[in-house]
């Protein structure tokens, strides 16, 4: 029995590895197409502008499909698939069909460089797109720079760190993100009927959030700028990424009792903080979280009502009317795909918008330049900028590392939904001020 088990096991192992080896059997041809999981080809809502024909253009990128960043990575995956399908339904790129070669970087920064080298040098993709999350985007930019490829990316907002002239952000919070965000929020606070005077800063000690509190080169950041708005910082509470224990922070918040709790955090940090405060029967007047995962906060129900965050776009009815049918169609399509993929939260919001911007930057840049030569595309983009569906005309100034003037706004949870409330000219509803 033992003998046969070993033989059987060896055969299974052999079969598995053979499968793996043959699966990677790309040789010199361009890679196998990434089939979108949810819908079939040609499922467009409009008439095709002309069937794309010829050799496919291959766009390569990696995303965190597994690992720590996966909850957001999967959103970008769906958006990408949606965009490519829509593109192909409308005549493709330069008249040719587009294929997206997507690899999983497992949220492992060390894998980014090899994977992008593979895409560029082995699979020889025509164009590349950035991965998800700042620590991953930076090495990808380095690879693109070495190979002379254009790299649009959707979530690195840290302008000072990105000096390659041909990287293009799909999401900008201004060349000085810490200043922009601070003023955005503090302006909003100042506009309230009873402007708050004390704030607490609860900060995730990680590269994307910590500079928002402390500033990039020291000074600046919310801690530094608060004084300008006569805001007193009554508590500064840093915590490590991945922290799950919020009781001590919640207690200190309760004791400090600020008018506004500002959580420069990520993912489900705000959920833990709010829950911790609820357990103490404490609710601050206002709660702001910088980069939360949007769904889980809504899941908190009443406790999270009134919470604020930043946003590029929210699918609120007034905004959809303002933007038009095309945008509406996009958001609905996304929601369907997200539901089919089993995601609990299916709204097309900031992350998806950033992703959409990025794809548009790349494809419209190519269309505009009329060629796949990366240098020409780069030059075109820098010279002409690009028109995007969600963010209007973007201009790229190499002096500020191509970071366009941000129009990021602020959203608020109202009746269990995220609603854009600031700035007033792009708001879907008025902000609900804190109860007294």
């Amino acid at each position: 029995m033992r003998v046969r088990a070993r033989a059987y096991g060896s055969a299974v192992a052999a079969a598995a590895l053979i499968l793996a080896a043959c699966g990677g059997d790309d040789g010199d041809d361009t890679a196998a197409e990434q089939e979108p999981e949810t819908t079939e080809e040609g499922d467009a809502t409009e008439e095709p502008a002309g069937e794309p024909s010829g050799d496919p253009i291959v766009i390569g990128s990696t995303l965190s499909l597994t690992g720590a960043f996966a909850p957001t990575g999967v959103i970008h995956q769906i958006v990408g698939e949606q965009f490519v399908e829509q593109l192909n339904a409308n005549g493709g790129l330069l008249g040719r069909p587009v294929e997206w070669r997507l690899l999983d970087d497992e949220s492992d920064t060390a894998q980014i460089t090899p994977l992008y080298e593979r895409l560029i040098n082995q699979d020889q993709v025509d164009l590349v797109l950035g991965p998800y999350a700042t620590p991953n985007i930076i090495p990808a930019v380095a690879v693109a720079e070495r190979a002379g490829y254009v790299l649009p990316h959707h979530t690195a907002i840290h302008a000072p760190l990105l000096s390659y002239g041909c990287q293009f952000p799909g999401w900008s919070m201004d060349p000085q993100p810490d200043e922009y965000t601070s003023r955005l929020l503090f302006d909003l606070l100042a506009s309230l009927p009873e402007p708050p005077s004390t704030i607490a800063l609860v900060t995730n000690e990680s590269g994307s959030t910590q500079p928002m509190t402390q500033g990039f080169e020291g000074g600046g950041g919310m801690a530094g700028i608060a004084a300008e708005y006569d805001l007193e910082v009554v508590a500064e509470l840093p915590y490590p990424p991945g922290n799950q224990e919020w009781s001590s922070i919640a207690t200190q918040l309760r004791d400090a009792d600020p008018d506004v709790v500002i959580n420069n955090g990520l993912g489900v940090d705000p959920v833990g903080i709010i829950e911790g405060m609820e357990q103490l029967d404490y609710r601050p007047g206002l709660f702001f979280s910088l980069f939360p995962a949007p769904g889980p906060l809504l899941g908190l129900g009443e406790a999270a009502e009134g919470a604020l965050s930043v946003s590029l776009f929210e699918p609120n009815e007034p905004l959809l009317e303002q933007y038009g049918d095309e945008v509406r169609a996009i958001t609905e399509d996304f929601s369907q795909r997200a539901e089919a993929a089993g995601l609990p939260y299916t709204a097309f919001e900031t992350q998806a918008t950033a992703s959409w911007n990025t794809w548009e930057i790349l494809t419209r840049g190519v269309e505009g330049a009329g060629t796949l030569e990366n240098q020409d595309v780069c030059d075109y983009l820098v010279e002409n900028g690009v028109e995007t569906t969600f963010n209007g005309q973007l201009t790229f100034d190499p002096e500020v590392n191509n970071f366009w003037d941000s129009n990021v706004g602020i959203k608020q949870i109202q009746d269990g939904e995220w609603v854009m409330v600031w700035p007033e000219d792009r708001a879907a509803a008025e902000i609900v001020p804190p109860e007294n």
Binding site: L65, T66, A70, P238, Y239, L300
Partner: protein
Amino acid sequence: MSIAQALITGAMLGGMYAMMAVGLSVSWGMLRVINLAHFGLILLGAYGTYQLATSWSINPIVTIVITAPLMFLLGAALQWIYDRTGLTEFTSLLVSFGVLIIIVQLVHNVWTADFRRIDPAVNTYGTKSWFVGSFVFPYPRLIAFVFGVVVIVGAWVLLQRTFVGRALRAFAEDRDMAAAYGIHHRRLGMLLAGASGATAAIAGMLWAMSFTLVPDAPFEWIGIVFAVVILGGIGQVLGTLAAGLLVGALYNLAAVLWEATASLLVVFVAIVLALLLRPEGLFVRRAGSGRRRFWARRGRAGQPESSPEREVTAR
């Protein structure tokens, strides 16, 4: 925040850690298997609780009626595999690591990588607390603590008082001798592994009640849980509970007195110091202590072992 409150909240958190650690500790100490897949079972238990609570609005605590037996079977099945393939301690570490990776990916495939949280309408404990004077006992923590204590103390009582428990301890000490006395090691091993699995299901339920779920969660747990296991003495059930409470209390205390970022630093430095003082583990009896001392004073011959150090595990 008063130090007393910090200690209380921390100790309750420690109850959760102890709950996660006890199954691992027992398999390691008694079955000589370092079962990393235990974390996979906790994960499955957590997602199981989430799913039952979400699809059928079952109270999370009640879900263990379903998840615990399931994890019992899975734990026993895994032990059967480890046994048939004749693994040593270290090879079991690697094989169970492979199993853990598989479980994490399966969870990922079924429930996607996105965050999952039990609806507060179903999980009514999430945001409530029990207030006693100026002290706060958040319900999820309190429940975790109570479960931890009850299950672990119960396990200890079972191991000390029942025949099965004694058989397990004999089996842990000397497998061959126990076999000579008719103790069927395979069945006993599966029973023990199954029980570990059941505790994993409970730990998973406690986790799902208190936190947001992601498939990758096990890799966050490994560090602290291993620390609790080794600190408490491998295979020592009560020691694991004590170690868990200690680690939790220390973790919280550090967050309050210093800052949250420093918690892990303090905990692990404390662990290093503790190991320096008591290298066998904090709660392990040294050879030549206790009972031996008692008899020696009464003149009974009892040659103590020639070296006082007790090797916790063979290399």
